[in-house]
C-alpha cells in the first residue's frame, strides 16, 4: 500500500505550478490514490475511475486556481467535491449503466458484427463520435485530433475513453437481449 505524504503536497504543487514535471508526476500519482479512496466512499465502484480521471483533469486544467498562500488539501477536496456533486447531478438525469471495463476483449464477435460501428457512433454526442472516428477510423493521432479541435491531448483521451465505454454498454445491451 502506498504511503501518502500529504504534508508535501503543497510544496509539490508549488513546484508543479512553475513547471517541474518530476514533482508533478509524484503529486498526481499520490493524489490519484487519495482520490480513489475519497470517491470509493461516496460512489459506486464503477464510477470511481471516471471520477478520479475527471478530477485529475480538472486539477490539471485549473491548477492556477490554487491559492499558494493557502493549504492544499481544502483546495483538493473542493475540486473533488465539485466533481462528485456534478456526477450526482448527472445521475439524477440518467440511469447509470453497469459497465464491464474489459469488455472489448470479451465481446461476442457475432453480436459486434451485427452492430455497425457507424450506428454506434451515431448514438454518441457529436463531438465524442467525431473524435473517436478521427482516432479509431481515420487513424489520426491524439495529438493531431487535439490540434484540429483545439483541445488538450488529455481531454481527447478522456473523451475517447468515455465514448468507448458507452459503446461497450450499447453492445452489452444487445448481448443481454439476445
Amino acid at each position: 500500500m502506498q504511503v501518502l505524504n500529504k504534508d508535501n503536497w503543497h510544496s509539490l504543487m508549488m513546484s508543479s505550478l512553475s513547471g517541474d514535471k518530476a514533482n508533478y508526476r509524484i503529486l498526481l500519482s499520490e493524489i490519484k490514490v487519495w482520490l480513489e479512496a475519497f470517491f470509493r466512499k461516496r460512489v459506486h465502484n464503477d464510477a470511481v475511475d471516471d471520477l478520479v480521471q475527471e478530477t485529475l483533469l480538472a486539477i490539471h486544467n485549473k491548477k492556477q486556481t490554487f491559492d499558494v498562500k493557502r493549504e492544499f488539501m481544502p483546495w483538493l477536496i473542493a475540486v473533488a467535491r465539485h466533481k462528485w456533486i456534478d456526477r450526482i447531478r448527472k445521475n439524477l438525469r440518467y440511469i447509470e449503466v453497469e459497465l464491464d471495463t474489459d469488455f472489448v476483449s470479451e465481446i461476442n464477435t457475432e453480436i459486434s458484427a451485427k452492430y455497425d460501428v457507424q450506428k454506434l457512433l451515431n448514438t454518441l454526442p457529436h463531438k465524442q463520435a467525431q473524435i473517436i472516428e478521427m482516432v479509431k477510423l481515420q487513424e489520426l493521432t491524439n495529438e493531431e485530433v487535439a490540434e484540429k479541435l483545439g483541445l488538450s491531448v488529455s481531454a481527447v483521451k478522456v473523451i475517447i475513453h468515455r465514448g468507448i465505454k458507452t459503446m461497450q454498454a450499447k453492445i452489452s445491451e444487445v448481448a443481454d437481449v439476445q
Binding site: L17, S18, T65, A78, D86
Partner: protein, 216 residues
C-alpha cells in the same frame, strides 16, 4: 481496471504541464479599472462631457446616477472575485450593494410621487439619443465582458460558473453605463431604468447564457 490506462493518463497530464501563473486578484482589479478608464476617456473624447457636469455634481445627480452604477459594479466585482476558485468565499453581503441600488431608484421614484410629478415624468420620457446610449452600454459592456472572459473567467473554477458569468456580465454593463453617464444629461429616473439598467440586465442575461460554457 486500468492502472495502465490511468498511468498513461498521468503521463499525458505530466507531458502537457506548462508553468502556470496562479490567479491574481490584482489582474481582475486592474482589468476593471483599465476598462473603466479607457471607456470613460473614449466616451468623453468622442461625445464630450455633459455640459452641466459641475451643476450635476452639486445637485447630486452624478452621485445617484453614476454612483448607483458604481455600486452595482463594485458588488458584481466582489462576487466575481470571491467565486473564481473551487473554494467558495461567502459573498452574501453583495446583495447589499444591489439593495442600495434598488433603494436609489426607489427614492428617485418616491421623490416624483411626493412632488406630484410621477405621472408626468412617466408619460413624458424624453428618450433623446437612447439608441446611442443603449448601444454604447451594450457594445462597450460586451467588450469588457469579452476581456473578463478571456483573462479571468475561463481561467477560473467557480463552483457556480453560470452565476459568476452572470455577475461578470452585470459588472461589464455597469462599467460601460457608469462611463457613459459622464456624457449623458438625461436624468429622468425612467430614462435611467430603460436606457441604463435594462442593457446592464441584458448583459447579465448574456453572461448567464454564456456561463454554461464555463463548466469544468
Amino acid at each position: 481496471m486500468s492502472n495502465k490506462f490511468e498511468d498513461s493518463f498521468i503521463d499525458d497530464l505530466v507531458a502537457d504541464l506548462k508553468p502556470a501563473r496562479p490567479l491574481n486578484i490584482w489582474v481582475l482589479s486592474g482589468l476593471a479599472l483599465i476598462a473603466t478608464a479607457v471607456l470613460s476617456i473614449l466616451i468623453v473624447a468622442f461625445f464630450g462631457m455633459r455640459s452641466d457636469i459641475i451643476e450635476a455634481f452639486k445637485n447630486g445627480v452624478v452621485v445617484w446616477k453614476n454612483g448607483g452604477l458604481l455600486l452595482v459594479a463594485i458588488g458584481a466585482f466582489i462576487y466575481v472575485m470571491n467565486n473564481s476558485r473551487p473554494i467558495k468565499v461567502k459573498s452574501n453581503y453583495v446583495i447589499l450593494f444591489m439593495l442600495l441600488f434598488g433603494g436609489i431608484i426607489f427614492y428617485q421614484i418616491l421623490k416624483l410621487v411626493i412632488n406630484g410629478n410621477f405621472e408626468h415624468e412617466l408619460t413624458n420620457i424624453n428618450f433623446g439619443a437612447y439608441q446611442t446610449c443603449m448601444s454604447i452600454i451594450l457594445v462597450g459592456g460586451g467588450m469588457v465582458y469579452f476581456a473578463i472572459w478571456k483573462i479571468w473567467l475561463r481561467n477560473g473554477a467557480s463552483t457556480n460558473p453560470q452565476f459568476q458569468s452572470t455577475m461578470a456580465g452585470i459588472l461589464s454593463g455597469a462599467i460601460a453605463a457608469f462611463s457613459y453617464a459622464f456624457h449623458c444629461n438625461m436624468d429622468s429616473i425612467f430614462y435611467y431604468i430603460i436606457c441604463y439598467v435594462s442593457p446592464v440586465v441584458m448583459l447579465g442575461i448574456i453572461g448567464y447564457i454564456l456561463g454554461n460554457r464555463l463548466k469544468w
